[in-house]
């Protein structure tokens, strides 16, 4: 089955990001396809490459990035949600003349059309958060 995953909640503030990760991992382990993971609302913080959680806690951002790399996942961060919350990749940081970029390159910034496309292409869309 082809899944689309949507994450609305920020890591640590909300269980959504962790649950979304565990679900996505389980789906992949069972041999299903993940068409796209879309991060919206506070879920965009999952793409933060600068998080440094304590060593005895789960590194939610790193876990997502690693899962994405291992399975070549299309992990998309909503551009409007991201910019509003100070989540920038290098291109956006240059465009808005900000001094730093913080989005892990494993994630791509794109528009809301990617959410709609995912909801139309996937057999199941599963949302975490709200």
């Amino acid at each position: 089955m082809k899944f689309a995953i949507v994450v609305y909640g920020a890591p640590y503030s909300d269980q959504a990001s962790r649950s979304g990760y565990l679900f996505t991992r389980a789906v992949l382990e069972q041999g299903h396809d993940v068409y796209r993971v879309f991060f919206y609302h506070d879920g965009v913080y999952t793409a933060n490459a600068l998080a440094v959680p304590p060593q005895d806690e789960a590194d939610i951002q790193l876990d997502w990035a690693t899962l994405g790399k291992d399975h070549d996942l299309d992990m998309v961060v909503c551009i409007a949600s991201a910019l509003r919350r100070g989540m920038l990749d290098k291109a956006e940081a240059n465009r808005y003349e900000k001094h730093a970029a913080n989005i892990n390159p494993q994630f791509t910034i794109s528009g809301l059309g990617q959410l709609i496309d995912a909801s139309l292409q996937a057999d199941k869309i599963v949302t975490f958060g709200v």
Binding site: R84, S119, L120, V130
Partner: protein, 116 residues
């Protein structure tokens, strides 16, 4: 054309509600979209909104453009409306009130449901 139902259940002061509306407008470019207001989301429909003093944008002004975007189905829960004591004459747009059984049917009729 695929039919997508957007379910709005957050109060109008939240960014999730505002970003949900953005998603609805974007969705209307790709699919036949309808919108259902439930729970705290019903407060988004009130016409007298002035959230600017608390640093919030009044995105609900955009509701009047929904028909221009081809979003023809605008629904809300009749029973929940009664529960919170809002008169639909206080709404900024025309909304079709649905009984609970009709809401269940609406949810199953659509190919995709996105909640905000």
């Amino acid at each position: 054309m695929s039919q997508v139902l957007f379910v709005m259940s957050r109060s109008p002061g939240t960014i999730n509600a505002q970003e949900g509306f953005d998603a609805l407008l974007m969705g209307s470019a790709f699919a036949q979209c309808s919108v259902l207001f439930l729970g705290d989301g019903l407060y988004q429909l009130l016409k007298e909104q002035n959230p600017e003093p608390i640093g919030s944008k009044n995105y609900t002004k955009g509701f009047s453009a929904l028909t221009d975007y081809g979003v023809t189905g605008v629904y809300c829960s009749e029973s929940q409306l009664r529960e919170i004591g809002i008169d639909s004459r206080e709404f900024s747009i025309d909304v079709q009130q649905l009984a609970d059984a009709d809401i269940n049917r609406l949810l199953t009729e659509h190919d995709t449901v996105l909640s905000f």
